[in-house]
C-alpha cells in the first residue's frame, strides 16, 4: 500500500543529513559506503536515513546484490511542490479580485 503523503515527503526532507544525501544523489547513483564517506556517521546510521528516504519514495535501491546503489527519485518531491503551487494559484486568483475590490472601495471613500 502506498502511504506517501505530503507529510512523509516533507518530514523526510526535514533532516539535514537526508538533504545532504539527496544532494549527493543528484550527481549520480551511489552505494551506502560511498554515501557514508563524507559524513561522520556509520553505515548503519546512514542506512537508517536511507530507509526514511525510501519510504517517502525519494530514493530507490538498485538490484545489484553487492552494491545496491541508491538512486534519487525526484517525482514525489516535484508532486508535493506542484500541489502546493496549484493550491496557491487557485486561491491567489480570488485574492487578486479582492485587491481590485479594495482599490475600488478606497476610491469610493475618497470621492
Amino acid at each position: 500500500m502506498d502511504t506517501s503523503t505530503l507529510d512523509t515527503t516533507f518530514a523526510a526532507l526535514a533532516d539535514p543529513t537526508r538533504r545532504a544525501i539527496l544532494t549527493r544523489l543528484t550527481q549520480g547513483d551511489a552505494s551506502v559506503g560511498e554515501l557514508s564517506a563524507p559524513f561522520a556517521m556509520s553505515q548503519p546510521a546512514v542506512s537508517k536515513h536511507l530507509r526514511v528516504l525510501e519510504r517517502a519514495g525519494l530514493v530507490s535501491r538498485g538490484r545489484d546484490a553487492q552494491r545496491r546503489p541508491c538512486r534519487l527519485e525526484a517525482r514525489p518531491l516535484r508532486e508535493a511542490l506542484d500541489w502546493l503551487a496549484d493550491f496557491r494559484q487557485y486561491w491567489e486568483e480570488s485574492y487578486q479580485r479582492l485587491d481590485e475590490l479594495l482599490a475600488r472601495l478606497e476610491e469610493q471613500e475618497d470621492s
Binding site: L6, F87, R88, S94, Y95
Partner: protein
Amino acid sequence: MTAWPPRGAGLVVSAPPGTEILLSRTFDAPRRRVFDAFTRPALLKQWHGARGWTLVVCEIDLRPGGTWRFVSHGPGGAEMGYGGVFLEVDAPARLVQSEIRDGWEAGEALVTTAFDERDGRTAMNITVRYPTREIRDSVLRSPMRRGAGQSYDRLDDLLSKGHHP
C-alpha cells in the same frame, strides 16, 4: 506569529507537518476594509471564488454562535454548498469559524483568520486545521474539489496516476 509576505508576493501557502494549511497574504488597505470584504455578503460576492466558481448564496450572522452559509456555482453547472458556525468574532482583528462542506462532514475544518495592520497595509494569516493529515493533504491536492463528495475518488485517481504512469 504574524507573517508579512512582501508586496507583490501574492499568496504564501505552507503545509507544516501536521493537519494544518497556512495561508498568508498582504493587502494594500487598512484592516477594517479587509475585514469588511471578508464578512459582508455584498462584498464577498464580488471577489470570492476562482477558476470559474462564483458565490451565489452568502449568508453571514457575524457573532459568536452565529452561522454562515455559502453556495458557489462552478463550471458545467456544478454547485457546492458549505457553511459553519462562528466561534470567535473580534472585528476587525480575528475570526474563528468551523467550515463543513455539504456531504463531507468528515472534512470539517477549523478556520482561524487574523488581520494585522501596519502603515495602512493589512496582513491576513489564515490557519485551516483539518481532522486528519490525510484530509489536509487531499484538500491540498485538489483545491477545486475541496470538501466535495467526490474528493476521495479524485484523490484515488491522482494517486494511481502519480504512481503507476
